[in-house]
Structure formats: C-alpha cells, structure tokens
C-alpha cells in the first residue's frame, strides 16, 4: 500500500450528506486489502499489552495475526472462543479507551484498529461460511450436556454472554426477556445505522445455536419470581436486567407533549421502527427543531436519529464543555459531520408549551466551569442573568438511566444500593441470595456493552462452580 507504518487504515463511511437521510450503516467496513494491511502493522508483542484492556480477554494478537495471514475464518473462530458477539463489539465498543489505548503503537503513532479488524473478521465469516447467517459452532459445543438448568433474566449483552458461556459448559439455558425482541439496549437503544439489526440477529442466532432458548414476553418479577425459578427446577439464576429507568431533570414543563426520555424516543424509533412509519404504525413526534439534553452515546444516538427522521435543526445541549463530553470521540465526530450543533456550557431550566400542551420553546442558562466535583470533572456553575429562550418543538432528555426496578421490587431479599444497583460480589457476581447472580448495567448502572459481557462471563464461571459443588460433580 506504500503507507506509513504509523498510520492506520481509514474506515470507509457513507458521506455525511447522504447518511443523514437514511438508517443504513454509517461505517462500511474494511475491504480485504485494508484489513490485511492494517493487521500487518501489528507488532505481535509478546506481553500482549492490548489484551489487558479487554474485559473479555480476547487474544488480540492471535486473531490479528490470522487476518494478516489471510486466514479470515480462523480469525473469526479465534475471536469467538472468548467473545460470542464480535460483530457487535467491533462496532460499538469504545476500543479507544480499552485495548487500543494500551496498544504500544499508540505511544508514538496510531494504535492498531483492533475494533475494525474484529468487525471485519466477524463480517467475513458471516458472509462466507453461511450467507444465511448461521455459524459453525461444532467446536464450541459441549461433548456432554446435562450439567443442570440455568435461567437468565434479560437478553442484553450481559445475559446473552452468560447464556452462551453456560450453554458451552453443558447447561440447559433459558433466557427470559420482558420485551418482544431480544438484545436489550442493542435492540431498543442503539440505532440500526450503528448496529444493523441483521448483524444483531445473526449474533443472537449464534447464541441460540449454542443451545440457548430465548423466551420473549417473559417479565421476571411479574410472570415468574426469582424464588419460583429457583424452586421450580433452575439450579441458578443470572440477572442481567440492565439500566433502563430513565432519569428526568425535574424542571418545569418536563411532562409537556414533545419532551421525551431518550429511552422512549429511541424505543419508538428503533424497536418499534417509527423510522418506517406509517408501515410500522407506532408514532413519534420529531419536530423541525430538536434539542437533545446530555452528551453521552445515548444523546448522540438521539440527535443523529432526529436528523434521519427529518428534523431541520438538531442540537446537543450540554452543561459542561467539549472535553467532558462522555460520548465516544468517533460518535461526536460523526454527529458533527452530519450537522448536529453543539450547545456547550448550557442547561435548560424550563420547558414552555403552547395552549394545547405541545412543547414550543425552552429556557436555557449559560454555565461556566468551576472547581472539580466528586467525579473529578469541573463543576458547571450557572451564570446569573445569562438566561435566554430558544425555540424547540422536540426535546430529548439523555442525562442517564438507573437500574430497572421490576425485579428488585419483587424480591425484598435482593440487596441493592440506594440508587437501585444490585449488590454483588465483584469476582463472582453472586447477590445476597444464594444461587442468584447478577451483572451488567443492573449492577454497575449505565456502562458499556463489553463490561456487561465481561460480567456475564465471570458470573457464568461462578455459576458453573456453584452448581458443580452443589451436585458434587
């Protein structure tokens, strides 16, 4: 390629002016040449510093090496020995803060594009092994089954991972999911232009192909309680119910029509497919002027969905400065290229409605940064007299989510923190009730796909040890 060794291969993407009008995937993926070129930059470090940054311990140099040698199917297989959802992780993980941050090449030049290579290998396998989407699972299948029965509550990344791991160890695993489709945030939150649903469904099918049963429309705490599951034949239960409870700002006018939680907005658009309205009849009210409050990944997704739903002006309203924005750098860049405006050091203090209760404007105040707060970030302080009124017809509140309440409300013995996170042993995921394990956002509060997967994996090992001991196996 005649390229400098220090520079990574660019990811081809849809042009901003095109992609802001469709829900197709933005990043198009490496070609074979690009993938091999990128993989060849890897130094194959003996100490594998990058692996330490991966919560599920993918053997990064090994799979990158296989790509460099053009053994793409083997690369995918190698990935799947530690990560059941590589096509998803390759797309949504914050590699820049994890494996890629520790890559030695990053000290002087650009780190290896580990995420992009992961995605490449997984997509290559899907396209070349069985175009229908089924994967070859023979070498992950357990030789003997019948270790016992495990119930998994929630089908997000934590639940899917725990389920896949346990199935491979020979357990009979059933996932219970409250919604009509599996995937958790991957299905209802992250938009298809970042994670196409064909990719998600392919990886879910892979978990199913390991022998996992997924029961949708099964809300634990209502349809079954945790105790009933333990009493009615399950040897252990893993709770991966996520952090879906939206936080509001508690400012006047927040219940006006047109003010949404990010969860409702994204659920309507992505899970209920309002982006294909009226073919799919669930409505959503996306006005001409949309303000998204917050600056994490959730906010970026809401802003970028708004553009694609036809909004003319979309702004991110954030009370701190650019440096503190919690979203991935790549997503902020994508959003800005598509035309999302950044209203930084600004916070809404009131929503204003018309006579019929529809949002028409928002009063904001400017902020400046003061002393660092408990999170170590500088605290935003309102600037007196800087109030102004901005016209807006849709507002989306994306300031965070807390753990889902239904399971904990139904089980008083399940100990939780005061903000609702399930208390667990960090190494095993064991909760205050023997036989019941938990992990992912339900424990940590809103975090990442890969930390949820890491927790699912740890809990799977602990569940296996627990059941073996109980049964004397």
């Amino acid at each position: 390629m005649g390229k400098e060794i220090g520079i990574r291969e660019e990811m081809p993407r849809q042009a901003p002016e095109v992609r802001r009008c469709n829900f197709d995937e933005v990043a198009l993926g490496y070609s074979v040449e690009q993938a091999v070129g990128e993989a060849k930059r890897c130094l194959q470090c003996k100490k594998k510093p990058c692996v330490a940054g991966c919560p599920v311990e993918v053997d990064i140099p090994a799979f990158v090496h296989l790509i460099a040698e053009e053994k793409f199917l083997e690369a995918a297989k190698s990935l799947k020995t530690t990560n059941a959802l590589p096509a998803i992780c390759g797309r949504v993980c914050p590699q820049e803060e994890q494996c890629e941050q520790l890559c030695v090449l990053g000290k002087r030049d650009q780190p290896i594009a580990i995420g992009r290579l992961e995605r490449f290998a997984a997509d290559y396998e899907a396209a070349n092994v069985d175009p229908a989407g089924k994967c070859d699972v023979t070498d992950r299948r357990p030789p003997v089954a019948n270790m016992g029965k495990v119930a998994i509550v929630g089908s997000g990344p934590a639940g899917l991972t725990a389920a896949g791991e346990l199935a491979c160890m020979g357990y009979d695993v059933t996932i219970m999911e409250a919604l009509h489709d599996p995937g958790g945030v991957l299905a209802y939150g992250i938009p298809p232009f970042r994670l196409p649903r064909t990719i998600l469904n392919r990886e879910i099918d892979y978990v199913r192909s390991l022998g996992v049963t997924i029961e949708t429309n099964a809300i634990v705490g209502k349809l079954y309680t945790l105790r009933e599951l333990l009493n009615e034949g399950y040897d252990a239960v893993f709770v991966g119910t996520g952090a879906g409870l939206p936080q509001f700002m508690k400012i006047p006018g927040e219940n006006l029509n047109g003010v949404y939680s990010a969860n409702e907005y994204l659920t309507r658009i992505n899970l209920m497919k309002a982006y294909k309205y009226p073919e799919y009849p669930t409505p959503v009210r996306v006005g001409k002027k949309v303000a998204v409050i917050g600056a994490g990944n959730v906010a970026m997704d809401a802003a970028r969905c708004s553009l694609r739903m036809g909004a003319e002006e979309v702004s991110i309203v954030y009370r701190r400065s650019r440096a503190e924005m919690p979203a991935r750098a790549e997503e902020i860049e994508n959003a800005e290229e598509e035309g999302v405006k950044m209203d930084l050091l600004t916070a809404p203090i009131r929503f204003i409605g018309d006579d019929e209760g529809f949002l028409k404007a928002m009063e904001c105040i400017r902020m400046e940064l003061g002393e660092p707060d408990s999170s170590g970030r500088r605290r935003p302080v309102p600037m007196e007299g800087s109030n102004y009124i901005q016209e807006v017809d849709t507002a989306v509140i994306a300031i965070g989510q807390s753990p889902n309440p239904v399971v904990r409300q139904s089980e008083p013995d399940l100990q939780t923190t005061k903000w609702g996170g399930i208390i667990t042993d960090e190494e095993t995921g064991l909760t205050s009730i023997p036989g019941i394990y938990a992990g992912g956002d339900a424990v940590t509060g809103a975090a990442t796909v890969i930390t949820a997967m890491g927790a699912g994996k740890k809990a799977a090992r602990a569940i296996d040890a627990y059941v073996r001991e109980k049964k004397g196996l």
Partner: protein, 276 residues
C-alpha cells in the same frame, strides 16, 4: 404466539378475546394489564386483564375499537394467533375488606372495573356498582357486574336503558341518601373519572382511579406513561395504574393523551380505507 380460543362481539364496537397464556393466567390479579402486539408490524397496546382462568390456561381481554390497532385486533379470527402478549403488568389493585365500596364504571372502563368489583366482593365488601354508557348498545358486562355486586345501577346518557343521566348522578344520590361509603373506585373516560373525583373530594370519600396514559414497554423503561400524582411524576405502568383520584393532575393527563391525536386519525383512516 398466543392462540385466540374465543372471540365474541359483546357490544357494538367492543370485542372480547380469550387467549391461551397459561403462565400469565396463573399470575394475573385484579387491576393488572397486558400489552399485546398483534404481529411484527403492530403497535404495542395495553389492555386490562378482564378475566383469567388458571385451570384453562387462558386470559380474557375486552376492548373498544378505538383506532387502528384495536380495529386490527378485532379482526383476528377465533383460532388465530397474536404474536406477543406480555404481563401481568402494573401493580395489582389493593383488595381488602373496606366495608362498603362503590364501583363506578363508564363505557369500556367497566371491563377494567369488573375484576376489581369481583375481587372486592370476594374479600367480603358490600359492593354497590354503577355502570353507564352513552347508549344502551354500549353497555357491557351487565350480568357479570350484577354478579359481582350487591346492588347494580345502570345509566345511559340518552336514557335508552336504565336511568337517564350520568353515573355520577347516581353517586350524588347515594351520598345524599347518607349511604355509608368507605371507598370509591372510578374507572372510565377521563372526564367521568374527573367528575367523580371532584364529587367525592367534596365529601371526603377516598377514591381510586385507574389511569390509561399512553404506553410503550409497560416495564418502567421509557417514562412515556408518566403522570403527575400528588405533585410527583409517576410511571403509570409500574407505579399504577391505580392512583388516588384526588391527587391526579387531570389536565396534564388529558393533554398527554392527545400527543398523537393527529397520527392516530391518519392511521385509522388509512386502515379503514385499506379494508374498504
């Protein structure tokens, strides 16, 4: 997939479906609801558990043909299937022996009220029920309500059946007669619940209403169903649907229920046009 084992038109624009859902039938309690999604392309719609039979493994929903989704649901055939049914959702009604309870139901609200009246009677209460509708053709579940009550009053707005007037007129009379009333349940269209709430507030009668805000997931995950009760934001799907009538911000509920009025009309017109 959930099989429809029985379908009946119980009134002009009201359909009853009995659906196979054995696990749900075991857990259902008065005041709870389900969310159904007819097929891959349908909306999720909340409907109250009007009845359930743990032995037969079935649940019953009764719904008014309001807009596109309920019309679509009413077109399901006996023996046909519904793709998704999730529940039981919401907090069950607090049933205990209160003494004398007046159950006021308007229109389709009677379907929501019936299991509550029945459970109250089984708990030993004296149940006085008042049910009403615009017209005789819209009165539903008369026999079932009679069975669940010690006394039953019926009203129609136009006088075509029972007493002419509103359900609240009967309640006003009961209060005027000095009848002992320990608790009132009022379930029906918002204007009706509001009138009853105003009336009982004047007389210091504790009143419970069941709210029907617009929902999506029904699991507390979106906040779309939020209502203001006693000055605080509550999620109807997990904190309710039952709330203290005297604490509800009715104006806000009326406003929020109209969020999608325009889209709802377009959808219904398109659906009817497509069939016609």
């Amino acid at each position: 997939m959930y099989k429809v084992v029985k379908k009946t038109r119980i009134a002009d624009v009201v359909t009853l479906l009995e659906i196979e859902a054995p696990a749900l039938a075991k857990k259902a309690r008065a005041g709870q609801f389900v969310i159904v999604r007819l097929n891959e392309k349908s909306e999720r719609i909340p409907l109250t558990l009007a009845n359930w039979d743990a032995a037969a493994g079935t649940i019953t929903i009764i719904f008014q043909h309001a807009g596109r989704s309920t019309h679509e649901l009413a077109d399901v055939q006996e023996g046909g299937e519904i793709r998704d049914v999730v529940g039981p959702l919401g907090t069950a009604t607090e049933i205990e022996n209160y003494g004398t309870v007046v159950c006021v139901g308007g229109g389709i609200g009677v379907a929501v009220l019936k299991p509550i009246a029945k459970a109250l009677k089984e708990a030993g209460n004296t149940v006085i029920s008042i049910i009403g509708a615009r017209d005789k053709s819209l009165i539903i579940l008369e026999d079932e309500m009679r069975e669940a009550s010690s006394e039953l009053f019926i009203t129609t707005d136009n006088g075509s059946y029972g007493r002419q007037g509103f359900v609240s007129n009967v309640l006003t009379d009961l209060i005027a007669e000095g009848r002992k009333i320990d608790l009132v349940f009022a379930i029906g269209p918002v204007p009706m619940m509001r009138v009853v709430a105003d009336l009982t507030k004047q007389h210091g009668l504790r009143t419970v209403v069941s709210l029907d805000s617009v929902m999506i997931d029904g699991t507390g995950m979106c906040g779309g169903c939020r209502v203001t009760v006693g000055g605080e934001t509550k999620f109807t799907c997990v904190d309710g649907p039952d709330f203290d009538a005297h604490q509800v911000d009715w104006a806000e509920l009326v406003m929020r229920k109209k969020t999608y009025a325009h889209q709802e009309k377009c959808q219904l017109d398109a659906y009817k046009g497509g069939k016609g």
